[in-house]
Subunit: 118 residues, 2 copies
DNA sequence: TCAATTACTTACGTCTTCGTAAGTGCGCGA
DNA sequence: TCGCGCACTTACGAAGACGTAAGTAATTGA
């Protein structure tokens, strides 16, 4: 057996579980952008400059499978889809937020101007 | 190397800064394992079942460049190297811990009887 | 009727990341 | 002095994550 404690291993286990969920170039940012209000597919795409529709679609689908994001179709004349965080997703967002706060304090961006608060 | 547009830089906030630092299959786990005490190269390798020496070496080097991990050589007769978290690294570890806690509460392992790690 | 928007999907290619296997130089114990 | 452990490095290759470009189906405004 290893010399780490059971509690430690359970924690490490949780880490890998969380990492599986947020693994993907855009997933943490998607979660971040959904923290305030639901967004439509196109709105998300516009908020993630550089993402392609294919990747956005893929990562949203995976986030749904992980139970982080909820997809809702609104039955209007014109197709309307909204993506929002589930309750677990909202909690995950708190952890993502902790990362973001660390990053704005200690990460080294090219310039210290804050562009994406809130 | 082909640089992407600077529209991406609009997103350059704390989150992406933090994600840059922890991007790497083993980095969050490395940080997590250094939370308690400094570890030697070989100790780390044994605690990360499945990692290769090449990858461990690479990711440690990148973590040093990010200012997360400190490498110390002890000038004993026999070569001895210890890796530990810097103060910013220790703070990053708190955010990583938040992820781990979320994971052990809400993360969904593929199968209920799958042992984590290894 | 034409063009545009929304919400995607599909095919294809590239590029990064990761892993495997082997090699290096040093000191130490047997 | 032989081999082993430590702390790495190097070369090579495979996998898959990501991006580009185009296509689809429905609807609506011009």
């Amino acid at each position: 057996m290893t010399n780490t404690t059971n509690a430690d291993e359970q924690q490490a286990c949780g880490l890998t579980a969380a990492l599986n969920v947020i693994s993907g170039k855009w997933k943490p940012t998607i979660i971040w952008h959904l923290h305030a209000q639901p967004l439509r597919f196109g709105e998300l795409r516009r908020r993630l400059p550089g993402i392609s529709e294919k990747i956005l679609s893929e990562q949203l689908k995976e986030l749904q499978l992980s139970g982080i994001v909820r997809r809702e179709e609104f039955d209007e004349a014109r197709l309307r889809v909204e993506y929002s965080l589930t309750p677990p997703g909202a909690l995950l967002n708190r952890a993502v937020h902790a990362l973001a706060e660390w990053g704005s304090a200690y990460g080294n961006p090219p310039a210290p101007n804050v562009m994406c608060q809130r």
